[in-house]
Symmetry: C2
Subunit: 326 residues, 2 copies
């Protein structure tokens, strides 16, 4: 910047202004400075500027895993909103554990991000106090929890899972199983299971451990579970899959076993997938506006940075897409 200033015959502070508040610099001066910048290939040192202003251009986001289409749709929304506003996304994963989250939050906070996005609503006490001490806004996107640290953006996992289960009940199914991806620290899954139980019990139907099946979240696991439902737990006439990929595996297994859907067993998935909608029969699922969650989370974050007050929560809702498997 000193070099630019010298060549442009101005003080360094004028170069700084030309970059940050161009309207306060005379047009000819601005022009001269920009020419010199181009000529020299000058790229401002962001961290140096941040030091005095105490304002970085970083937004930190922590998600359970990057390798997951539903999460990355959300991250895309975050990124698309932030980039044009001059902010940069720092992305990390918690590995789906509270300790992992705390570790990455601690590491990220030392970079002084302007806001923190967490796809999780349960945190270690230490993590909470770190965040509180940092003073930056936090947006939680995993679930619309009762008491967000600051602002929650998303949908209600309870309402969504209740709606999905209730749909099966309304269609007259009486022995409804729920299948979920094993993940001890995933509060969102726990919430969905509670909603499933509530819906079943509210309707006077039976719930029980034999109707709640933990497995891995992949396509192959869904296939294995489906076979078990047909061969062993043969009273089950409907299954709700809390994780879209498992439902795909169950669907494919039904075709292989020539088990009619929904004649022999109905299938519904928590998350809609392009493939699930194209299979025959097409899978009934919840459409969740993941991209919107990311975009709105980023929008709320920038509003909070700009001095806006916490929104409490922003509900993007969900939509039940009734198709052919129920």
């Amino acid at each position: 910047m000193v070099d630019v200033a010298r060549l442009a015959n101005v003080a360094p502070i004028t170069v700084s202004r030309a970059l940050s508040h161009p309207s306060s610099v005379a047009p000819e001066t601005l022009d001269k400075i920009h020419r010199v910048i181009k000529q020299l290939g000058y790229v401002p040192n962001g961290p140096a500027g941040s030091l005095k202003s105490q304002k970085t251009q970083l937004i930190a986001a922590v998600i359970p895993s990057i390798n997951h289409l539903f999460l990355t749709a959300m991250v895309q929304g975050v990124s698309d909103f932030l980039s044009p506003m001059g902010y940069h996304l720092m992305l990390g994963t918690s590995g789906e554990t509270l300790e992992g989250e705390e570790a990455i939050v601690r590491a990220f906070l030392s970079q002084r991000p302007r806001a923190l996005l967490l796809h999780n609503t349960v945190h270690t006490a230490e993590c909470v106090s770190l965040i509180r001490a940092s003073g930056i806004p936090v947006i939680e996107t995993g679930d619309l929890c009762e008491q967000p640290l600051d602002t929650a953006v998303g949908f209600s996992n309870f309402d969504a899972a209740y709606t999905l289960t209730r749909h099966l009940i309304d269609r007259g199914y009486e022995h409804i199983a729920c299948v979920y991806a094993r993940s001890p620290h995933n509060e969102r899954t726990q919430t969905r299971i509670k909603a499933y139980r509530a819906a079943v019990n509210d309707a006077g139907l039976r719930s029980g451990p034999d109707l709640e099946i933990a497995t891995d979240g992949d396509v192959a696991s869904g296939a294995v579970v489906l076979r078990d439902l047909i061969d062993v737990r043969s009273k089950v006439d409907a299954a709700v899959f809390f994780g879209g990929n498992m439902a795909l595996g169950a669907h494919l297994e039904c075709q292989k076993m020539q088990v009619p859907i929904p004649g022999r067993i109905a299938i519904v998935a928590f998350e809609d997938t392009e493939i699930g909608a194209m299979l025959a029969p097409a899978i009934t699922a919840l459409r969740i506006p993941r991209y919107t969650i990311g975009r709105e989370a980023a929008r709320v974050a920038l509003t909070r940075i700009g001095g806006g007050s916490p929104a409490g929560h922003v509900d993007v809702g969900f939509e039940l897409c009734i198709r052919e498997t129920s």
Copy 2:
């Protein structure tokens, strides 16, 4: 840091050393400092430290889109390798255009990342000169190009596409179409198409514009293309899909139309998917070690930061998984 130093009765520089080079500090001093740090909830200011040392902890990665399972598997590999080493991932998207890449690279460079990962091997001249001027290592992961800026990590798109096409030829198919996602600036797709043509021509078969079909990359597009191949270009007896999701759509459409695979038409996909492998018949596809590409790219980046010389290129290879659709 000054507060910590005062409470611990040491000079600030000793606190700095306790954090950065603990082995050069007396154990009792270290202990005392760590107690005060905990008591005060002190979190070091990373950007401030970076200013004097000229060393941030940031690694920047630019990918075409975040919302893509094949890319995010790679990013997961990058992230998993970087985090334990104390580096942070700054992630951005180019939107699949060279101008978008240049813009995000420029913005990222102002944050002074230690290395740059680009999932692309073609750049604007301005982008190249920006990168060169920055002096940081660049790892290109899109393709094993001839002349990487620094080091390329990945596989040869040409070899992979040639192998896939050659496989159909070896099986005796004679009218082979190729289907690709329209994306004018995607050099990787162009390379794959060239390889397809080379394989077909090398075998004395016919290539031509009527056998090369541009479409969108999603499942639905694959279905539309498949119907066109059966109804209109009815001589075609095999199709190679440069994009895994399109092949899934084509497969599902065959089932709906009761078109036998590979009896009436063979299908192969460039990228393997869990679903594709489970469909009946299972889709022949290339297994590409995406996660490994990310991990190795991160490893090479840190090696280069540490003073290692450019590796030229690191070939992770690919594997043809012959299944039932060919």
